[in-house]
C-alpha cells in the first residue's frame, strides 16, 4: 500500500540543510499519524529505508518535492506528470558557476528549466522566504505559502551570559558560515577584511564551510596571500555541529557578503547564538535578518570593512544587535516553523480521511 505522503529529494546527506529539513517534515507528518516515505534519486550510505525514484509510482496522496537544483527526481515528476507540493529553496543563477564549475552551472540551469515545467504540476508552492515565494508567483503558481526551512537551532546563549571577547587584543573575530562558493562571494569578505585590518590589525576572519568548487577555495587563499592577510584568515572547512556552535560563540560578528541567499540559515543561527550580524542586502537576506542586524546596500571593501569595524568597536551597538538577534531568531524556532509547515500542508494531507 502506498503511503499518504511521499517526500522527494535528490539525495539525503549528512549535514545538508535540505536533507535535515526533509527528515523534520517526515517526523512532523508521522507525529500527526500520517504514513510517509522518502524518495531519493541516489541512496546514500545511511538511508537504507528510503525508496529509489526509479521504483517510485507517484501514487501517494501527496508528493512533496524539495527543489533547489536540477535533479532526476524532478525529472521523474515531470515525466509522470505527478501533481506535487513544490517546496522551493531557490536556485542559484548559473552565471555564478559558469567559469568556475561548468557542470554545476548546467545543473542549476536544468533546475531552472525544470522549475518552469514543475510550475504546471504544482498544487501548492511552499517557499522558505517571501523572496522565494515571489519567484513562484511569477511563474504562475497562485497557491504559495511561506514556511521557513525546518532545522533545530543550536542551543543559543542568552546575551546577558555572553562574555564580550572583542577588543581584548584590539582585534575581533569575523565569522562567515556557509559553502565557500562564488555566489556567496567570500572573496568580497576577504577584500573587506584586508581593509578592516588597517583599522584593526589584530582582527581575524574565520570561514567555516566546505568549498564548492575547490578551485574557488584555492583562489580565496591566493587572494588572502596577495592582500597579506593569510595568516589571519582561517579556513576551517566543514566542521561538526559542536564545533560550529563553538565558532558562533567564540566570534564577535557574523559577516555575509553573499549575493544569492534564498533564506540564510547561518544568519539565523548567528542571531540565535547572540552573534551580531553584518550582511549585504541581497535576495532574502534583509527579510531574514529584519531589524536585528546591520544590512548594507553596498559591499565594496571599504563599506563592508567600516560596518564590521563599527560593530567591533561599539559595545552598545553590539549589545543591541545581540538582544535583537536572539529575539528575532525565535521566529525560526523549530516549534514555530513546524507549526507553519503543518498549516501549509494540513488541508492537503488530511483530505479524504
Amino acid at each position: 500500500m502506498s503511503p499518504t505522503v511521499d517526500l522527494l529529494i535528490p539525495q539525503m546527506a549528512t549535514g545538508d540543510a535540505t536533507s535535515n529539513h526533509t527528515r523534520l517534515i517526515q517526523q512532523l507528518l508521522e507525529e500527526k499519524g500520517l504514513e510517509t516515505r522518502v524518495v531519493v534519486e541516489r541512496k546514500s550510505r545511511s538511508d537504507g529505508s528510503d525508496l529509489s525514484v526509479e521504483k517510485w509510482k507517484g501514487d501517494a496522496r501527496v508528493s512533496i518535492l524539495q527543489h533547489s537544483i536540477g535533479s532526476e527526481v524532478a525529472q521523474f515528476v515531470i515525466r509522470k506528470k505527478t501533481p506535487v507540493v513544490l517546496n522551493y529553496h531557490n536556485i542559484t543563477p548559473a552565471s555564478y558557476f559558469q567559469s568556475w564549475q561548468p557542470e554545476l552551472a548546467k545543473s542549476v540551469e536544468r533546475g531552472r528549466q525544470q522549475l518552469g515545467q514543475l510550475a504546471r504540476l504544482t498544487r501548492r508552492g511552499i517557499a522558505d522566504s517571501e523572496f522565494n515565494a515571489q519567484e513562484l508567483r511569477d511563474l504562475g503558481i497562485d497557491d504559495v505559502v511561506v514556511a521557513p526551512v525546518l532545522w533545530k537551532l543550536g542551543s543559543g546563549v542568552p546575551p546577558s551570559e555572553q562574555g564580550d571577547s572583542t577588543d581584548l587584543d584590539g582585534g575581533g573575530t569575523v565569522l562567515f558560515v556557509g559553502r565557500l562558493a562564488p555566489n556567496k562571494c567570500q572573496h568580497d569578505l576577504i577584500a573587506a577584511f584586508a581593509v578592516l585590518s588597517r583599522f584593526r590589525p589584530e582582527a581575524r576572519l574565520v570561514l567555516v564551510g566546505q568549498a564548492s568548487p575547490p578551485q574557488y577555495l584555492h583562489s580565496l587563499k591566493s587572494l588572502a596571500r596577495r592582500l597579506g592577510v593569510h595568516s589571519r584568515v582561517v579556513f576551517a572547512g566543514k566542521v561538526s555541529d559542536k564545533n560550529l556552535l563553538q565558532w558562533y560563540q567564540l566570534s564577535d560578528v557574523l559577516a555575509c557578503t553573499s549575493e544569492h541567499e534564498g533564506f540564510g540559515v547561518p544568519l539565523v543561527e548567528a542571531m540565535a547564538n547572540g552573534l551580531p550580524v553584518v550582511a549585504y542586502d541581497a535576495a532574502a537576506v534583509a527579510e531574514t535578518v529584519q531589524d536585528a542586524g546591520i544590512v548594507i546596500r553596498d559591499k565594496r571593501p571599504v563599506t563592508m570593512a567600516l560596518a564590521l569595524h563599527r560593530v567591533l568597536s561599539d559595545g552598545q551597538l553590539r549589545q543591541s544587535l545581540r538582544d535583537r538577534g536572539v529575539k528575532s531568531a525565535q521566529r525560526f524556532d523549530i516549534s514555530v516553523t513546524r507549526e507553519q509547515m503543518w498549516i501549509a500542508l494540513k488541508d492537503l494531507v488530511e483530505v479524504g480521511d
Binding site: 549528512t14 545511511s46 577584500a191 592582500l227 589571519r232 576551517a236 548594507i296 551597538l317
Partner: protein, 320 residues
C-alpha cells in the same frame, strides 16, 4: 538603546565609506587594487583543475561521463543531398555510439555506487560515521590538556630540521617554542577555542582535522612531525594510518616526535570510556620501528607525559 535605528546606522556607514573614498586617495586606491587583485586571480584560477579532496568522485564521474550527441559536428562542401545524407548517417551513428557509451558509463557508475554503499555500511558497522573521517569514539574522552612547560621545552628541543608540523597544535605552545628556535612550523587543531587562542598569539595554527591535513600535505614536505594532544584520543587504526601518512610526508632524514600520556595511567572513568583509544609511548615506539624508524624513548619530567618517543627515519618510505 532599544530605539536605535539600524537603517540609520547602515546609512551612516555607507556615507562614511563614500566620504573616505572621496577624501582619502589612499583608501580609494587600496579598494581599487583589491578589486583588481581579485579580478586577476579569478581570471587565471577559475578554470584551474583542482582536486576536490572531499568531493564525491562518483558524482564527478557521472557528470563527466555524459556525452552530448547534439554537439555540432561541422559540414563539408559537396552536393546538397549527399551532404544531408552523410550528416544524417554520421549523426545517427554518433548518437548510437554515445548512447552505448552513456549506457555503459551509467551501468558502471551504478555498480560502483552499490559497492560504495556496501563499503559505507561496512564502515558504519566498524564504527565510522557517514563521512568516514571521524572515528565514533571521538568525543567520548575529553581532549587532553595543553602540554606543560616541561613537555613544550622538551619537544621543542627534539624538533630536528624544518619545516615542522604539530598535530594537534592545541593553543600553540609547542608551535611557539619550535618557532622561537628559528624553525618554520605550523600546527593543526580542530577545536575553535584553541585555534583562536593560537591566532591571538600570532601563531600559525590552522583549523581542520589532523588526519585530512596530513593526507593533504605533499610527500616529503616536513623535516619533523610532532604528534601530541588529540592523537591521544584516536583508535589504533587511525594511529597506524597516521604513522603511515606521517612517514610519507617526512623528508628522507625526517623525524617523528610523539608526546602522549600512557593510557594505562588514566583514571578509572577515563580508562573505561577511552578503552581502545590512544596507545602508550612504548607501543608508539614499536609502531614506528615497524614503519622503518629508529625509535627511542626519552624520559620527561612531566607528571602526565613521562616519556617522549623520538623516531628517526632509517628506511625509505613506502606507500601502504
Amino acid at each position: 538603546m532599544s530605539e536605535l535605528d539600524l537603517k540609520q546606522v547602515s546609512a551612516e556607514i555607507e556615507a562614511d565609506a563614500d566620504n573616505r573614498r572621496r577624501q582619502d586617495r589612499e583608501i580609494a586606491q587600496l579598494e581599487h587594487d583589491i578589486e583588481q587583485a581579485w579580478a586577476d586571480i579569478a581570471e587565471s584560477e577559475s578554470s584551474l583543475h583542482v582536486i576536490d579532496e572531499d568531493g564525491d568522485f562518483l558524482n564527478q564521474a557521472a557528470n563527466l561521463a555524459s556525452l552530448d550527441p547534439h554537439v555540432p559536428i561541422g559540414s563539408r562542401r559537396g552536393l546538397r543531398g549527399v551532404k544531408w545524407l552523410v550528416r544524417k548517417l554520421s549523426y545517427w551513428y554518433a548518437r548510437f555510439l554515445t548512447d552505448q557509451f552513456n549506457v555503459f558509463a551509467g551501468v558502471l557508475i551504478r555498480h560502483l555506487r552499490n559497492v560504495e554503499t556496501r563499503l559505507g555500511r561496512l564502515e558504519g558497522a566498524a564504527g565510522y560515521l557517514g563521512d568516514g573521517t571521524v572515528p565514533a569514539g571521538f568525543g567520548v574522552l575529553d581532549s587532553p590538556p595543553e602540554p606543560s612547560a616541561e613537555v613544550v621545552s622538551h619537544v621543542a628541543g627534539l624538533a630536528g630540521s624544518g619545516p615542522c608540523l604539530v598535530l594537534s597544535g592545541g593553543k600553540g605552545a609547542i608551535v611557539e617554542a619550535i618557532s622561537q628556535r628559528g624553525i618554520s612550523v605550523h600546527g593543526v587543531e580542530q577545536d575553535p577555542d584553541r585555534v583562536l587562542a593560537g591566532l591571538r598569539r600570532r601563531l600559525d595554527i590552522r583549523a581542520g582535522g589532523v588526519l585530512p591535513h596530513l593526507v593533504g600535505a605533499e610527500d616529503g614536505e616536513f623535516g619533523t612531525i610532532v604528534l601530541t594532544g588529540f592523537v591521544e584520543t584516536l583508535p589504533l587504526r587511525d594511529l597506524v594510518g597516521m604513522v603511515n601518512q606521517a612517514s610519507l610526508k617526512l623528508k628522507k632524514t625526517g623525524r617523528i616526535v610523539v608526546a602522549v600520556a600512557d593510557p594505562a595511567a588514566r583514571a578509572r572513568v577515563d580508562a573505561e570510556l577511552g578503552s581502545g583509544l590512544g596507545i602508550s609511548p612504548v607501543t608508539w615506539r614499536h609502531l614506528l620501528e615497524q614503519a622503518g624508524f629508529d625509535a627511542s624513548l626519552e624520559p620527561c619530567s612531566d607528571s602526565r607525559i613521562t616519556e617522549i618517543v623520538v623516531a628517526q627515519r632509517t628506511a625509505p618510505p613506502s606507500r601502504p
